[in-house]
Each structure stands twice: as C-alpha cells, then as structure tokens.
Symmetry: C2
Subunit: 316 residues, 2 copies
C-alpha cells in the first residue's frame, strides 16, 4: 500500500513541465512548487514529465534539479524523480563504490524487490554504467560478503506461490545444521537464500521455527556485533517481511544522533509507492510515535516537506 | 550465419497446419511432409504454426509430434519446433536432472547465448518448471562444478563492445596466477569468467596470450582427463569462439563409435538459425570432410533427412 497521493485531476505532463520551468526560473527556486508537482505524481507520470521536459526544453530534468537544488532536499527529489529501476541501479552502484560490510543497500535491492524488479534494475545498470551489477558487486566485495552478495544480486527467483513442503523440511534442517556449526557462509545456506523463491523460503523458515523452536533470525544473532550475521538477518527480513526491515531502518536512521539522512531518504523514496502504509503501521507499533511526527521532529525545511508529502502526511 | 532455408513464398500458418494435419492423418505418418514444412520455417514462423495449430485443432503440436514420431527423429523435430528459449529451458532442465561432470550443456546455454537469450531461457524455465534455473543447477551439482555453474547460469552480462584494457591486464594476471597455482576453482577466476562481458573477457584473454605466451585453454589442459578443467575450457570457448566449440562437439559426436545422437541433434537444432554456416566451415577445415557427408554417413532415414535439411544441404 502506497502513501503517494495523486490529485484526482492530474495536469498534463506539458503543464507540469511548464510549472517546473517556472519554479526554476528567475531569482531563487520555488521549492514548494516543485514538491507540489513531483511528490504527487506516480512513477509513470514522473517518467512522462521527464520525457516531455527533455523534448520541450532540450534539458534533462535530473540535471536541472541537480543545478537548482542542494543537500538532502536535492537527493530526495532526484532519487524520487528517477524511474524505480534506474534508482535501484544508481543506489546499487553507489553501494558498490563505497561498500562497507555494514552496507545493506545491495541486500535491499536484491531481496526486497520482486524478481522482475531486480531484473529491470540490472538492465538499467547495463544501460547506465556499461557494466553488469554482478561484476561490480563481485569486484568491490570480498570474502563471505562476496559469497553472499553476488548470488543475491544475480538471482532471478521463481515468483510463483507454490511451496514444496518436503523441500522446506529438508532445507530447514540444512539451515539449522549449518547455523549450529556456526557455518554461516556455508554454500548450502547461501544457495538456499539466494536461489529459492520467496514462497519457498517462507515455507522453509516456518518449518525451521516449528521444528527448532525459534525464528532463524534469533539464531543468527549469536554475536550481535558480527556484520556478516547482520547482513544474513537483513537478507531473511527483506525476503520475508520487508516492511519490518524498512521500519527498523527508519527507526535507526531517525534515532541516530544527527539523523542518517541517506537511510531515511532511501527508505522513503523506494517504498512510498510500494508498502509505505504498512511500514508506517509497523513503525508506530514499535515506536509509539507516528512516522510523520518522528520525521518532522528530526528534519526541517524543504527536505522535511518532501518526506512528509511522500509518506502521505495530510497537509503535505 | 544461419543454414536455415525458407522458401521465397512461405505458406500461411493455417496452410502449414493443414498440411501437417494431413501428414499425421490416416495410416502411418508422412515424415517427408513434416520435414518439408518444419525444417524450412524460422523461429517466428514455427511459433505461429504452433499457435495456429492449437487454435484450429485444440491440440498442442508438440504433443502430436510426440505421439506420431519416434526415437532420434522425434527428438530432433520436437526440439527444433520449440521456441529457442523454451528449448534452452528444456535442455537445461534435462541437463540438471541427469547431470554428470562431463555434461557441458549448461555451459553452452549460459555462455554461447547472448545475455538476453539466457535471460529469456531463465524466464521460460520459470514458466515451464515453476522453479528457477539457478536453484535447480545449485541443487543438482556439487563442489567446484557448482561453484562455476551457478554463477554462469545466473549471469546477466553487459552486452556492449567496450573493453577496459587496464582491467584486462589486471585480470589476465589474476587468471594466470591462479592457473599457475592450479587454483582452477579460485573465486576470482570464476568471478571473471562468470560476470565480465564477452568483450571484456576477450580483451583479457588476448592480453593473457600476449603476456604469458599461449592460449589460456592450453594452460587449462594440464591434466587432459580432469573434467573440471574440461568444463573451464568449454566455458572459455563458448564465450569467445562458440563456432569452434560446437564444431568440436559435432566432431566428437560423429566420430564416436555408435554416434552421440543427443550431441549431434542438440548442436544442429540450437545453431542452425545462429551460426551453423560458420560451424560447417570450421568442421570442414578440421576434418577435411564436409559436415553433410559426415552426417549422411553416420545417420539414416528421416533423422538424417531432417539434420541435412537444417544444416542447409542442397537437396534437403
């Protein structure tokens, strides 16, 4: 469930472009006007605005935004304006270039998208970077992280609902045995997480819980400081309950001293059109503070307004 | 360059279906009529024939062929009639189910197709088997073979012509160092072969040859009986010179005592519309016997006729 609000009568792309052009012209920039347009158009409408803008003014809207806006507001508007697949390609590229073992962006893109969406992101990666996503991930990561991340981003999972219960039983056992032995990067454990369909993994992890008494993610918390365990837990959550995963990313981003704007922006722009409604419920349940209050408290100015608009705040 | 010959005036799919229906009706089957139609239609035309046949006679042409034909002739006609992506999915599934370490079909599908064709095969695999290709490959293979084959079938390589010469130099060195140490399944060696674009791999292997004095495949022949080395050589050949690879598969299939019909059929149906013309030239150069003579000598009946028709034999 999306938190995006689109007006009942949407102006044509040409009208939107004219207004945006106005917002950029003259002394200063009219940020409110930009928000009122872009934050209330869906992906297809934004794409059409970008195309029309390029045809009409012979300029790439993204480049204009780059010139006109600054800081966190610039980043949220630009990421939002990108097509979802291009945005994932951009975020994934950024993540490989400045990759650290605590960076979970690649896991999000590999596991919290549908198989088809991941594929579109890989195609967008080719088009933009003249390379494959998997070669950059393989090139920039090492050790166990590479063993996990390369198959995750290369996967093209079956997307059906079928689950094989016999397989679930066998593979729950394989997972458990490896976790008991602390063989967290064992090839079978990675194979299961990286190749099985989400429905199958769900069945396997349910079986795991029934048979071995607790959530696999509890068992993957043996050492809370181990970053490989953290990325395995993120993998499991992105595959089985992305809304909880993203709720937690928001919580940590907001509660952090100084706010983690990158995390906050990323979750808002990538989930607003997907499941932000559910993420807000999860967030409220866990923090007893509505997400918009938390955002309003921690951010300011146009950046705050844009985030509130995307998360469906009434007045935005 | 294809060896497929399509008549100047192609009958409509409806007319072709009517003729096929005739070929199946009455006492016995008219194999010559079937060959004269199916062996002279391209992939799009065959697809349209299958659709029209299903609409007109409420029967799947593939199932009818299954009922009417037998043995090697049945297999070649059925494989040929399948859409290329479905055919690859079918062959890949067969290869995983009866996988042995000498089976190179998965390498062919992963490396001798374009990145887009491999992707279409993976999509066809989902549709037909309700699973992903990579999960079946991972499930049915082990050890070094799994380490190589899973990334190969999961790859979605960049398909551009660009090659980075600095990277070629670095990675040629990485390949050489690992080969010197006999670390043939080293993750870097596999990473390079499984993720880099074909253009990049070509540049890297040229660099390898210049720098280290001989073809990488010569260096990968340290132990001619080692099947993992054989599959690495197949990978390199399918990526860089598929026509030589397939020429050799044909040579071995035909020269074998008793003929390897599976190999012969597979190469003919998968390459007839792609590069069979070049494969024939390679074959002649290496064996001093034209491919059609070799096929005619080793096969007979309708199977022979179908193979000759697909390889562009004049009278077929």
């Amino acid at each position: 469930m999306s938190t995006l609000t689109v007006p009942a009568q949407v102006p044509s792309a040409a009208e939107d472009c004219e207004q945006l052009r106005k917002a950029f012209s003259g002394w200063g920039t009219n940020e409110e006007l930009i928000i009122s347009i872009l934050a209330h158009r869906n992906a297809a409408q934004r794409k059409s605005i970008r195309q029309t803008y390029a045809e009409t003014y012979k300029e790439d809207l993204l480049k204009v935004l780059d010139k006109e806006l600054t800081n966190d507001f610039e980043r949220v508007v630009k990421l939002w304006t990108l097509d979802p697949a291009e945005r994932d390609a951009f975020l994934a590229n950024e993540a490989t270039k400045k990759w650290t073992s605590s960076n979970q962006v690649l896991v999000e893109i590999a596991c919290a998208r549908s198989p088809q969406e991941l594929l579109l992101a890989r195609q967008a990666y080719h088009a933009r970077f003249k390379k494959s996503l998997e070669e950059d991930v393989a090139h920039h990561t090492t050790g166990d992280f590479r063993k996990l991340l390369v198959p995750l981003v290369s996967s093209y999972r079956y997307d059906g609902d079928e689950a094989n219960m016999t397989l679930a039983k066998t593979e729950a056992k394989i997972l458990h045995e490896n976790i008991l032995k602390k063989a967290y990067s064992h090839e079978d454990l990675i194979r299961i997480l990286a190749t099985r369909s989400k429905a199958q993994i769900n069945a396997t992890l349910n079986r795991y819980k029934n048979e071995f008494g607790q959530d696999i993610n509890k068992d993957l918390k043996a050492d809370p400081k181990d970053e490989f365990l953290a990325i395995l837990r993120a993998t499991v959550k992105c595959l089985t309950c992305p809304e909880k995963y993203f709720g937690k990313v928001l919580r940590l981003a907001i509660n952090k001293r100084g706010t983690d704007e990158d995390g906050l922006t990323r979750v808002v722009v990538t989930r607003a059109e997907v499941d932000m409604q559910v993420i807000k419920e999860v967030f409220y349940k866990r923090n007893t503070v509505p997400l918009d209050h938390a955002i309003a408290k921690d951010t300011r100015g146009d950046y705050e307004k844009m985030l509130l608009a995307l998360t469906g705040h009434r007045d935005a």
